[in-house]
């Protein structure tokens, strides 16, 4: 038997034209605390609801304990959910809310032989005394012993939360699903409940699947974090890995504070950014490949500019006290860097910076140029997402073409009507000296745009491109542009190739063993 209790295989969920979850694959081990993390609308709740059975995947498969449950209705699944707004039944008191599931549950009650001599499994319901004992135990677990007779509407948010948890765990599910359960609580209460949930996870030993948009919550509680964005899984890894080695600029930006800079990988172990060459520990990139470099603020060491370790000098733009550290904003040439330091530095002074090679995290750029497959609308006019853009190209109308536009050649306008086409800002990430925005056109093409301004997420903007900046080449009709996302692997499962090979060997051995058992 595999130790994966839940396996999600290439699951896609589509609402109308929009993919809420795109081709997601994820394994959840027995007893693990897995967190689905991402900004709102990233598909994390939809994924959870598909595990619970409230949503059916448009395609793909969900396995529970090796068994296909893709089309199993929710009441037959061995999972229980703690809902975001608790969903406690208002017509029942606390005791009856918790007993709700128990009263319906059938438990094995011995076997008997029927007339044909076959063994028949008998079932019975819990007796009143058993229910009372179980509910009381659950109430004790969540520290609400004396609240059984209370109406749920008379409880505080934190107490309702506890009742919701008790109602789910009293059924002894194999997997507990939690949908942003602490979202409605205040900060202090949230911290306490985090610890209590972790403790509960340890005591019960069951699998927790937790959904949150709070990165700190995810880092604190989880064994494994699944970072999602726009329905796509970005990274599956332990909290440490997600923090120290984010898979891409989005993850780095979403989890904790970070400096994200554009650079070039000169050769193995050598990277250039901010006009300086740094040593690093990464290899295997193409020569002169444009990359993103991520530096956590606490990894930037501020030194005297004369210090012999200094790699690059910067001026201090500001230094702000943050309780346990100073947040120092530095300007290294055009690039803005944020450092956390225990000492403060005078504004305007020049300091030296040192970064350990190990602390430089280098990532492939997800895209280096905007590439769109489209058609000519007319001579010197090209279709791009429902809009006709002027260009310098003599091809006749209807010619299939591939259009390329550099990130900094796309111009965003404040007023949607000023642009040739309208679009919505999906994200905006600061990259040291400029912002990299992703704007989504109405037919779901994502433009990467480098701009000087920070655009508000969700805002409608217009897009303009200067005619001479649109590079057009003829393409074979029907050949679609490749926009394949790299396969996301579970980094907790295969931390090295050697280990994965080992795992495979084990699986083969196990399979062989099974076979011999069957034969025997």
């Amino acid at each position: 038997m595999s130790d994966n209790i839940i396996e999600i295989k290439n699951v896609t969920k589509t609402y109308g034209a929009k993919d809420a979850v795109k081709n997601a694959s994820l394994n959840i081990k027995r007893g693990e605390f897995v967190t689905l993390l991402g900004p709102s609308g990233c598909g994390k709740t939809t994924t959870l609801r598909m595990i619970a059975g409230f949503e059916m995947p448009t395609s793909g498969q969900i396995l529970f304990d090796g068994e296909d449950i893709t089309n199993t209705p929710p009441h037959l699944r061995r999972v229980n959910t703690v809902f975001q707004k608790y969903a406690l039944f208002p017509h029942l008191n606390v005791f009856n809310n918790i007993a709700f599931g128990l009263k319906m549950k059938l438990i094995p009650n011995g076997t008997k032989r029927n007339r044909k001599g076959e063994e028949v499994q008998l079932f019975r319901k819990y007796t009143k005394a058993e229910i009372k004992q179980k509910v009381d135990a659950a109430l004790k677990m969540v520290d609400l012993e004396d609240y059984g007779h209370r109406g749920v509407s008379s409880l505080s948010g934190g107490q309702q939360q506890r009742v919701a948890i008790a109602r789910a765990i009293v059924n002894e599910p194999e997997v507990l699903l939690l949908d942003e359960p602490l979202g409605a609580l205040d900060l202090k209460m949230r911290k306490d409940m985090q610890l209590e949930l972790m403790d509960m996870h340890k005591r019960l030993g069951i699998t927790f699947v937790y959904v949150t948009h709070d990165q700190e919550e995810a880092l604190t509680m989880s064994d494994k974090i699944v970072v999602m964005r726009d329905g796509v899984i970005q990274q599956i890894a332990t909290p440490e890995t997600v923090y120290d080695e984010p898979a891409n600029a989005f993850v780095a930006d979403f989890i904790g504070e970070s400096n994200i800079l554009s650079g070039v990988m000169l050769e193995d172990y050598k990277v250039e950014f901010a006009d300086t060459v740094f040593e690093c520990v990464d290899k295997g990139f193409k020569k002169n490949e444009p990359i993103d470099v991520i530096i956590r603020p606490e990894d930037l060491r501020i030194l005297d500019k004369e210090d012999k370790m200094t790699i690059l000098t910067a001026t201090v733009a500001s230094s702000v006290f943050k309780g346990d550290h100073y947040q120092v904003t530095l300007m290294a040439g055009e690039n803005e860097l944020i450092a956390h330091d225990t000492a403060t530095y005078e504004e305007g002074s020049t300091v030296g910076l040192y970064i350990k090679p190990f602390d430089l995290h280098i990532m492939h750029k997800s895209r280096i140029i905007n590439e769109i497959d489209t058609e000519m609308a007319d001579e010197n006019l090209v279709w791009i997402a429902d809009g006709k853009f002027e260009c310098n190209c003599p091809f006749e109308a209807g010619t299939p073409v591939r259009v390329k536009v550099d990130f900094d050649d796309v111009i965003i306008t404040d007023d949607e009507d000023d642009g040739v086409i309208g679009a919505t800002v999906v994200s905006s990430i600061y990259k040291g000296s400029y912002y990299q925005c992703i704007v989504r056109t109405d037919d779901y093409y994502d433009f990467f745009v480098d701009t000087d301004d920070d655009w508000l997420k969700g805002d409608r903007v217009g897009i303009n491109i200067a005619p001479e900046k649109i590079l057009i080449e003829r393409r074979e009709a029907g050949a679609p542009a490749e926009d394949s996302a790299p396969e996301v692997v579970d980094q907790t499962e295969y931390s090295s190739d050697a280990q994965s090979a080992e795992n495979n060997a084990e699986n083969v051995a196990a399979a062989e063993k099974n076979e011999t058992e069957v034969k025997g």
Binding site: A52, G53, F54, P73, P74, H75, V79, N80, T81, F83, Q84, K85, A87, L88, F89, P90, H91, F100, G101, M104, K105, G151, S153, R167, A168, N171
Partner: protein
């Protein structure tokens, strides 16, 4: 001297437009059409034909067997009508609340109410006669259900469609199949809608008139009809007593219904009251 000059020279009573002013028309209306008629009924109940104080009217009513039979009949028709409305209305409201276009479809059930009920009832009667249906208890109850069904559907639909989906999902999650989900969550959560539906159908049906008369060719006499007849015959005393009895029944049923809704302790969903 102009009017303006008069106004300026007499500043004793100045009109101020406060919130309270807006309630005056309603107070006047209440006085004229609710309080005064009630007082008149109360006074009439204790007067005989020659305007002497008497308790004769009470004795007349409570010893007259036919009046009591009519009262019992009215209550029976009310109970039957309400039950039928609930049996037809609940499933209908339930399915409408599940449909995305339910809000529009509900309008179709409300639409007939835009036609005057007398015209509707006369039309129903014409249809029955054309179909050769004998007019009697059956047709009366049909007419009642037809007239009062929207009053059952509306509050039920409002309550049912305001039940949060997460309650249903929570019940499913805890192992309830669809019939258990209905019995253990949807039904108890819609009690407030059921109660307001019952109130809105039962109370008008026991006091209604004309429908029964028209749809039974005057064979079936309900309490409302008999009150109307007593007044037509000039028996104001007995008519008033009967009105008071009616009022007591309405108050009592209102009280029972209110108690029931308080006992279920529900502020869940919206009800019409």
């Amino acid at each position: 001297m102009t009017n303006a000059a008069v106004a300026v020279s007499k500043p004793k009573w100045r009109f101020k437009l406060t919130k309270r002013v807006f309630s005056y028309p309603y107070v006047l209306f209440m006085l004229l059409f609710v309080v005064i008629p009630l007082v008149m009924i109360l006074v009439n109940a204790f007067l005989d034909a020659d305007n002497n104080l008497t308790l004769e009217n009470f004795a007349d009513f409570f010893t007259d067997k036919s009046s009591l039979v009519i009262l019992a009949n009215s209550l029976l028709v009310g109970v039957i009508t309400t039950a039928i409305c609930l049996i037809i209305g609940y499933p209908l409201a339930y399915f409408l609340s599940k449909m995305p276009s339910g809000r529009v479809l509900v309008l179709f059930y409300v639409l007939p109410m835009w036609v005057n009920f007398l015209i509707r009832t006369l039309a129903t009667k014409a249809i029955f006669i054309a179909m050769d249906v004998t007019l009697g208890m059956g047709t009366v109850i049909f007419g009642m259900v037809y007239n009062y069904l929207p009053f059952m559907i509306l509050p039920l639909h409002t309550t049912l469609s305001s039940i949060d989906r997460s309650y249903i999902e929570a019940a499913q999650d805890l192992g309830a199949d669809s019939s258990t989900v209905f019995l253990k969550t949807v039904l108890p959560l819609s009690v407030s809608g059921i109660i307001s539906g019952i109130t809105m159908v039962f109370i008008p049906t026991i006091s209604t008139f004309a429908i029964s008369q028209l749809l039974s060719n005057g064979k079936i006499f309900l309490f409302g009809d008999s009150i109307q007849m007593k007044f037509e015959q000039g028996l104001y005393g007995v008519g008033s007593i009967m009105s008071l009895v009616m009022l007591v029944f309405v108050l009592v049923s209102n009280f029972i219904i209110n108690r029931a809704s308080r006992k279920s302790g529900l502020s869940v969903g919206r009800s019409l009251w």
